[in-house]
C-alpha cells in the first residue's frame, strides 16, 4: 500500500460528512466501502463483531458514569455558584469576569468529562453576565469556548478515554497526564486575557468596586460540593476502595446526591439526566465502534503501517515530523470535529509517532490540545456552536472572532508540551503509572 492511499478514504469521508450525516454513519459507510472494494465481503462482518464488542467493553462503562456525573451537576446551580465565587474573589483583578470564567471552567472540568457541556454550563451564566458588565462580546465568547475545552484535558475526560481505547494506552496514566497541561492552559488563557485587555482596554469595563470580605468566605461554600466530589473520586482510587472504573460510579452517585441535597433532583430532571446520559452513551459507543472498524479496514490494507514507514524513513528529524503532524492536525481541526480526529486520524498517525520514539501518553495529551483547537476554530467548532445555542441573540461573527483569538494560547501550549514533555509526563511518572 502506498503511504498516501488513505487520502481517497479521507476525501470520501469529507464528502459524506459535508452532507451533515452523523459522523459515525459517515465513518461506517466510508470504511464499509473500502472493505468491500479492497478486501472482500468477509471484512465487513467485523462491523457487527465490533458493535457488540464495544457495547460490552469494560472500559466503556466509565462513559455513562462520567456523563451521568456531569449531567447531574449540570442540573444544579453549582456552575452558577462557581462563577459567582470566582467573580467575588477576583473582584479587583483586571478582567475579573473572563478570568473567573476560566477558573470556573477548570473547576467544573474536574467533575465533567466533556468540553461542550463545560462550555454550555459555565457559558450560559458567564457570557450574559460579562456582556451585561460591559465586556466585548468576542472576549466573552472566546474565553468561554476556550475555557470549556478544559473539560477534556482536566480529568475525567471522555476523549482521553476514547484515545486510550483506540491506542490501547493506560487511561489512568492519560488522566494523570492531563492535570499538568490543564493547569498550564488555565495560566495561558488567563495571560491571554490580561494581554488582550492591556493592548485594548476597550474590551473590558472599568474596575468594579472592592468586595466585602464576609461575602468572600460565604461564596466559597459553592466550591465545597465540587471539591468533595473530586476528593471522593480520587480518594476512592488511591485508598484502594475502588478501581478507576468504580470510581466513576462513586462520582456519579456523589453528583446525584449533591443534586438531591440541593433540591435540584426533581422527577422530570432525573428523567432528563438519564435520557441524556443514555443518548450520549449510544452516540459515543457507535462512534467508537465505527471508528475502530475504519481503523481495522485501514490496518488490513496496511495503510497506517505504510504511513509510519514512510514518515520514519523521511530524512527529517523527529521533531520536524511532529511539527508537520501538528500543522496537519490544526488544518484538519478546522473542518473535522474532535471525535472524527480521534477515530479517523489518530489510528493512522499513532504507529508512526510511537516508532519515532515518542511517548503514547504524551501524544494523547498533544492530540487532546489539538482537538481543543478543533473545537474552537472556525468554520466547524463544536464549542462555538454550543455557545450560539445557549446565549440568546449571540452573533456568530462575534463567536468566531472570539474563538480565533484563543487558538493562540492553545498553540503556545502545544509548543510548551513539545519542548517540555514533562509538563504532561511528570505526574504519571511520579505516581508510577508509567
Amino acid at each position: 500500500m502506498e503511504p498516501l492511499s488513505f487520502l481517497p478514504f479521507f476525501a470520501l469521508l469529507l464528502v459524506l460528512l459535508a452532507t451533515g450525516t452523523p459522523v459515525a454513519v459517515a465513518t461506517g459507510l466510508a470504511a464499509s466501502l473500502g472493505a468491500l472494494v479492497f478486501i472482500g465481503q468477509g471484512a465487513l462482518t467485523q462491523l457487527g463483531v465490533l458493535l457488540f464488542a464495544q457495547a460490552s467493553n469494560f472500559v466503556l462503562l466509565m462513559v455513562p458514569l462520567f456523563i451521568l456525573m456531569g449531567e447531574a451537576l449540570g442540573a444544579t446551580r453549582i456552575g452558577r455558584d462557581l462563577f459567582t465565587a470566582a467573580q467575588i474573589w477576583l473582584g479587583r483583578v483586571p478582567g475579573a469576569l473572563p478570568i473567573g470564567t476560566i477558573f470556573s471552567c477548570a473547576g467544573f472540568a474536574a467533575v465533567c468529562g466533556s468540553s461542550p457541556v463545560t462550555a454550555a454550563t459555565i457559558g450560559s451564566v458567564a457570557v450574559p453576565e460579562m456582556m451585561r458588565k460591559g465586556y466585548a462580546p468576542r472576549l466573552a465568547f472566546g474565553v468561554t469556548a476556550a475555557g470549556g475545552t478544559l473539560g477534556i484535558l482536566i480529568p475525567p475526560s471522555v476523549s482521553l478515554i476514547l484515545y486510550g481505547i483506540i491506542t490501547e494506552t493506560s487511561i489512568g496514566a492519560l488522566f494523570m497526564a492531563g492535570i499538568g497541561p490543564g493547569l498550564m492552559l488555565v495560566t495561558l488563557l488567563s495571560l491571554t486575557v490580561f494581554y488582550l485587555i492591556w493592548r485594548n482596554p476597550g474590551l473590558a469595563p472599568a474596575r468594579s468596586a472592592p468586595i466585602d470580605t464576609s461575602e468572600r468566605w460565604t461564596s466559597l461554600k459553592s466550591v465545597i460540593p465540587v471539591s468533595l466530589l473530586v476528593v471522593a473520586v480520587l480518594g476512592s482510587i488511591y485508598t484502594g476502595i475502588a478501581t478507576a472504573t468504580e470510581a466513576a460510579a462513586v462520582g456519579a452517585f456523589g453528583a446525584l446526591l449533591i443534586a438531591f441535597l440541593l433540591g435540584s433532583l426533581k422527577r422530570e430532571v432525573m428523567r432528563r439526566i438519564l435520557d441524556n446520559t443514555a443518548r450520549t452513551t449510544a452516540m459515543f459507543v457507535l462512534l467508537v465502534a465505527t471508528g475502530l472498524f475504519s481503523a481495522f479496514v485501514l490496518s488490513r490494507l496496511g495503510i497506517p503501517q505504510a504511513t509510519a514507514q514512510a514518515i520514519v524513513g523521511l530524512d527529517v528529524p523527529p521533531w520536524g515530523v511532529m511539527i508537520a503532524i501538528n500543522v496537519l492536525l490544526v488544518g484538519l481541526g478546522m473542518f473535522l470535529d474532535p471525535m472524527s480526529i480521534l477515530v479517523i486520524v489518530v489510528p493512522v498517525l499513532f504507529p508512526a509517532v510511537v516508532q519515532l520514539g515518542y511517548d503514547p501518553v504524551w501524544f494523547g495529551i498533544l492530540v487532546t490540545l489539538q482537538i481543543e483547537i478543533a473545537a474552537i476554530s472556525p468554520p466547524v467548532g463544536f464549542n462555538l456552536f454550543v455557545l450560539r445555542t445557549v446565549v440568546a441573540d449571540a452573533r456568530m461573527a462575534d463567536i468566531i472572532r472570539g474563538g480565533l483569538i484563543f487558538v493562540a494560547p492553545l498553540l503556545v501550549g502545544i509548543a510548551i508540551l513539545m519542548i517540555w514533555p514533562d509538563v504532561a509526563l511528570f505526574l504519571p511518572r511520579m505516581m508510577d503509572l508509567k
Binding site: 468477509g42 471484512a43 463483531v49 482510587i237 475502588a242 478501581t243 490496518s299 508510577d432
Partner: protein
C-alpha cells in the same frame, strides 16, 4: 501468491514472538513463497476476545486464539484454559499436543476453522502485595485478580476471592490494595513490572492458558493441497519449538525474579504444587458436564500425559 493476515493478541516484544516469526518464515520457504503470512501483533487488527468470531466469519484469515477467550464458545477449551490444564513438562506437553491435534482439527472444522498449532503460556506465578501463596491457609480470604470463568472457579476452590479487573487496572489496584494478589504468566511478568507494587512472587508450578493458531476455512481452501501439507508440517514442528522456547524463557524469567528480589520469591515444593494441582482440578467438575463428548476426549488426552 496468497497473503495471510494473522491477528495476534500479544505484543511483538513478548517471549512467544520468535517462534511465530520462525513459523511465518518457514511457511513462506516451504511453499516457495506462494503463501506469505503477515503477523499483526498487539491486537492491532482484532482484539483478543473477538478473534474467534473474526476468523470464523472471515473478517481476518487467521489468528491466535487464547483458550480463555474462546472457551465460552468452544467449551472444550475450558480444559486448556484452566490452571494446571496442559502438562508443564516440555516433552509431555508436545506429546499431548500431537494427540490432541486430530480432536481439535475435527471439531474446529465444524466451526469453519482450521487448526494449525499451539503456543503454551508457561507456568503460573502469583504476585502479591505482602505474602507468598504456599498453602491453602495463604489463599484463604485473599483477593486475587483473575480472568475468565474457570480460573475464577479454581480460585474460589482454594478459598480465595476472585476479583475481575480489566488488565489496564491491575497495576493501580495492586498499588492501592484494591486486590492483594494477581496471577500472571511467569515469562511475561518481568515486562509488566507488577513486582514494583506486588513484590512477593510465588512460583506456583501450574500451567495455564494454551493459545491456538487457527485459520479461516475459506482462506485455507485457497491454498493448494501441496502447500497445505507443507504448512501442516511446519506447524507440527512449531509445536515443539514453541514448547522449548517457553521452557527457556521460563528459566530466564525465574532467574530474573530471583536476582531482582531474592528474598521475595518462593517456589512451591513438589508436595505443595501437587496439592494445589488437586485443589484446582477439583473445581473443574462442572466443566466435565458442560463440555460434552469433545471435552471428554480432550480431558482424557490431558490426563494421560499428566
Amino acid at each position: 501468491q496468497t497473503k495471510i493476515d494473522m491477528t495476534i493478541f500479544h505484543a511483538e516484544g513478548a517471549p512467544w514472538t520468535p517462534t511465530e516469526k520462525w513459523w511465518a518464515q518457514e511457511v513462506e520457504k516451504a511453499t516457495e513463497g506462494r503463501v506469505k503470512v503477515q503477523l499483526h501483533f498487539g491486537g492491532s487488527l482484532v482484539p483478543l476476545n473477538e478473534t474467534l468470531r473474526a476468523v470464523r466469519n472471515g473478517a481476518v484469515p487467521a489468528g491466535l486464539l487464547s483458550s480463555a477467550a474462546a472457551a465460552g464458545q468452544l467449551r472444550y477449551l475450558g480444559y486448556t484454559e484452566a490452571l494446571t490444564g496442559v502438562p508443564t513438562d516440555t516433552g509431555k506437553l508436545v506429546a499431548s499436543l500431537n494427540e490432541l491435534r486430530p480432536v481439535l482439527e475435527k471439531n474446529m472444522a465444524e466451526q469453519g476453522l482450521v487448526y494449525l498449532w499451539s503456543q503454551p503460556a508457561g507456568e503460573l506465578i502469583s504476585l502479591c502485595r505482602n505474602k507468598f501463596l504456599k498453602s491453602p491457609a495463604d489463599w484463604k480470604g485473599t483477593k486475587v485478580r483473575t480472568a475468565g470463568r474457570w480460573q475464577s472457579e479454581q480460585i474460589k476452590a482454594v478459598g480465595a476471592s476472585p476479583q475481575a479487573l480489566d488488565p489496564s487496572e491491575i497495576y493501580l489496584a495492586l498499588q492501592n490494595g484494591t486486590v492483594d494478589c494477581t496471577l500472571s504468566v511467569g515469562i511475561l511478568a518481568p515486562s509488566l513490572k507488577l513486582e514494583q507494587v506486588a513484590p512477593k512472587v510465588t512460583f506456583l508450578r501450574q500451567s495455564n492458558n494454551l493459545s491456538l493458531f487457527v485459520m479461516n476455512k475459506d482462506a485455507w481452501a485457497k491454498i493448494s493441497p501441496k502447500d497445505q501439507e507443507a504448512i501442516k508440517r511446519v506447524s507440527m514442528e512449531a509445536d515443539k519449538r514453541a514448547a522449548q522456547a517457553v521452557a527457556d524463557a521460563q528459566a530466564a524469567g525465574e532467574a530474573f525474579f530471583k536476582k531482582a528480589q531474592a528474598d521475595n520469591t518462593y517456589k512451591l515444593s513438589d508436595a505443595e504444587a501437587e496439592q494445589l494441582r488437586k485443589d484446582f482440578a477439583a473445581a473443574l467438575k462442572p466443566l466435565d458436564g458442560e463440555s460434552g463428548e469433545v471435552g471428554k476426549q480432550v480431558k482424557a488426552v490431558l490426563d494421560k500425559h499428566r
